[in-house]
């Protein structure tokens, strides 16, 4: 072992920075994507980027300082309103305001609101912090429809994208590239922030605030600054959505938007940098795909969130990086059966639950249920007709769920044994 190590230090193979390669490929894919995609998919891809940036900005607070905000819709919304106002001013044509620069006003609006809310919210921690952010967001949510001038009352405000430098910004493609440029810049900015002294201090605050204070830092000030950075990028995400949607109304401040970003972040993996991006992009994409197929998407997303919180608290990305670090690739062959078992179990579970939910939904919303001459109620679902009273209609999904549960449990147990054995081997070897 020691000789191997010695030789590896002597002869250094040229190392490939795989993460850099992956990053470059991803950016390349994102840039070329619109040429392959149909119109609607481009619009969805734009929404995915905005959701990803929103979640990433939200997670600055949680991942680094362990502060859970339940009021981030306030910063997102204020960024949107500010940008729409500026777009309206730009449409007047008296001031020089090129459209690609307008999201900066969303960022500034988020920053200003972030200073105010951050100053108060960081006075407390834990549940109390969450409650303060929630209270601020809810106050804005309740007052905004009353304030006609600033928030356009119940009907909201709309604006138009004004052409600039030969770009009309009329097509989804041009908007996509505008949003992409800003998102990539912002993601790079947020990543850079984690490396700055303040960003490092933020991690320390999350680990042990008392100790940071003992070292002589002003913890409250540091937390406020991190809060402001988070609010600022959230406002930027809002500004981008304002440009993509060209309108906004007071419902953007609703508590469910603040909740949505929490759900996205934790499904993706709140403990990792990429988690919120992956979670938000995936959930937005599935939401857009599922919107045509089912009205139960929110239910499925909620169930997925609960399962993640209970069984995979590290999220999708967290799980992937964890496992990649612990497994040895040459053991993959022996692990393959367990992996396949888990996969098959999950498919069975999802199929069973989706069937039951969709069947119930079809039964409760009458137009889809058909009463035959014999009086039996049947529903057409997944290319077959199912009788409500038939035993198989219920037995099939229940067996599927039960089988899925057993398979997942058995497979997961073997996998975690293998993972812990791998850890032990690395430790002893």
């Amino acid at each position: 072992m020691s000789t191997a190590m010695a030789s590896s230090t002597r002869i250094r193979a040229p190392t490939i920075h795989w993460s850099l390669v992956v990053l470059l490929l991803t950016v390349l894919a994102l840039v070329t994507l619109p040429t392959f995609l149909p119109h609607r998919a481009i619009a969805t891809a734009t929404q995915m980027q905005i959701a990803a940036l929103f979640a990433l900005a939200f997670n600055i607070l949680w991942r680094q300082t362990r502060l859970l905000s339940f009021g981030h819709a306030a910063f997102f919304g204020i960024g949107m309103f500010a940008t729409v106002h500026i777009m309206r001013t730009a449409a007047g044509g008296t001031v020089f305001l090129p459209l690609p620069l307008l999201p900066i006003f969303g960022l500034m609006a988020g920053l200003v609101l972030g200073v105010i809310v951050g100053f108060f919210a960081t006075a407390r921690t834990g549940t109390y912090f969450a409650m303060i952010t929630l209270a601020f967001a809810e106050i804005i949510h309740q007052l905004s429809p009353q304030w006609q001038g600033a928030f356009g009352g119940e009907s909201g405000l709309s604006a138009m994208r004004i052409a600039w430098a030969g770009l009309s910004f009329g097509s989804d493609k041009e908007v996509y590239y505008l949003v992409l440029a800003w998102s990539l810049a912002a993601i790079a900015g947020i990543h850079y922030f984690t490396l700055t002294p303040l960003g490092r201090l933020a991690f320390a605050l999350g680990d042990n605030e008392q100790r940071v204070r003992f070292l002589g830092y002003n913890a409250r000030l540091a937390k406020t600054l991190v809060f402001i950075v988070s609010a600022m990028f959230t406002g930027l995400a809002g500004g981008l959505l304002a440009i993509a949607n060209e309108n906004v109304d007071h419902t953007i401040f609703r508590a469910s938007l603040s909740g949505q970003v929490v759900v996205h972040t934790f499904i993706g993996g709140a403990g990792t940098f990429l988690g919120p991006i992956v979670g938000a992009a995936a959930m937005t994409m599935f939401g857009s795909l599922a919107a045509d197929l089912t009205r139960l998407w929110v239910l499925y997303q909620g169930l997925l969130f609960i399962v993640m919180v209970m069984y995979l608290p590290q999220g999708i990305v967290g799980l992937a990086t964890d496992r990649a670090a612990h497994w040895r690739w040459r053991e993959l062959g022996s692990l393959l059966p367990s992996l396949l078992a888990v996969l098959a179990g999950i498919i069975l579970l999802v199929a069973g639950i989706v069937f039951i939910a969709e069947f119930l939904a079809a039964l409760t919303t009458n137009p889809f249920a058909r009463r035959t001459d014999s009086g039996a109620v049947s529903v057409a679902l997944f290319g077959a007709t199912w009788d409500r009273a038939a035993l198989t209609t219920w037995l099939l999904p229940v067996c599927s769920v039960a089988g899925g549960l057993i398979l997942t449990r058995l497979g997961a147990r073997r996998l975690s044994h293998a993972a812990s054995a791998g850890v032990q081997q690395t430790a002893h070897g």
Binding site: T127, A150, I306
Partner: protein, 313 residues
């Protein structure tokens, strides 16, 4: 004067309803340190269970069975879900209840549809209790108040004068110490969570028959009960009672507030200048009333996070 009396009665009745829901929430927070986002959902489920049961049986059976069913759901959540999430930390318990809130709302939409259901109070209770200057005061409002008071008395006696109540009160303040003394604290947690859920369910069963029963009721009430428990002091039952009544009476009177912020300038002769400024200054206070509880909550959180009567900060 009659307006004041009726508003006061309405406020007290609504406040007592808020108390029925928030009592469990505040107890659970005091003990487990978890602010249960799904607590409003128990209220909603109570109303829907009550609706279904009163359709297939009758209101009185619903009143007895629905809260029990909700308590069982609460027990299940505590035993099989919260305890698992607890291993991953406090934040994950909070997130779990948050996810449950979403799922319950969607499940209700799945089974009962998006629109309010026809959950009516029984005919035997639909009569006028008394009339004040032409306003007929419905008996059912008094019924809600009576149920709430009965519940408060029962809870108070249980907590104050029984051995189980003594252990619960101790566990609210020092769970680890109580466990060290040999009591089964997880069982106490389970019981209190179920009890709290059941109380919220009872409130839903009673109030759902009077107020609209719709999938949004969990969110609407959920926000207000957060305000109640924060203002009253997280973990304090007495505080929750005082804050419930305060917010209930305020909401009831706010509807009648017909003046604007600009009117505050009248004694100084500034009212016309202020209303010229527009913006929030010219908005009627009655329309801004929905924001006031949150302002109150904010002030309490910033100045006295322990709340009106809480002892823990």
């Amino acid at each position: 004067m009659d307006f004041v009396l009726v508003s006061l009665l309405n406020g007290i009745s609504y406040g007592l309803l808020l108390f029925m829901v928030s009592a469990g929430l505040t107890l659970i927070f005091g003990m487990m340190g978890v602010l249960n986002f799904a607590h409003g959902s128990f209220y909603m489920l109570g109303a829907y269970f009550g609706y279904s049961l009163s359709r297939y049986a009758n209101f009185w059976l619903a009143l007895a069975v629905a809260p029990l069913a909700i308590a069982l759901i609460g027990a299940f959540i505590e035993r099989f879900m919260l305890r698992r999430a607890h291993q991953h930390g406090h934040a994950h318990e909070l997130l779990l209840t948050f996810g449950l809130f979403f799922v319950f709302e969607e499940l209700v939409k799945l089974f009962y549809g998006f629109y309010p259901v026809e959950y009516r109070m029984p005919a035997t209770l639909t009569f006028t209790a008394f009339s004040v200057s032409g306003i007929n005061y419905p008996f059912f409002r008094l019924f809600i108040a009576v149920v709430a008071v009965a519940m408060f008395v029962a809870i108070f006696l249980l907590l104050r004068f029984t051995r189980a109540g003594l252990i619960v009160r101790a566990a609210v303040y020092r769970p680890q110490m109580v466990e060290a003394l040999g009591h089964n604290v997880p069982l106490v947690f389970l019981a209190v969570f179920a009890l709290g859920a059941g109380m919220a369910g009872l409130a839903g069963t009673v109030a759902g028959a009077f107020y609209p029963t719709s999938p949004t009721m969990a969110q609407e009430l959920g926000m207000i009960i957060f305000v109640v428990v924060v203002v009253g002091g997280l973990g304090s039952i007495e505080g929750a009672l005082v804050a419930s009544l305060l917010i209930g009476i305020f909401s009831s009177f706010a509807v009648g507030l017909d003046w604007t912020l600009a009117d505050l300038g009248t004694p100084l002769g500034l009212d016309r200048w202020l209303s010229g400024l527009g913006g929030l200054l010219t908005v009627r206070l009655s329309t801004m009333a929905s924001a006031v509880p949150f302002v109150l909550m904010l002030i309490v959180l910033l100045i006295r996070p322990a709340g009106l009567m809480g002892e823990k900060a």
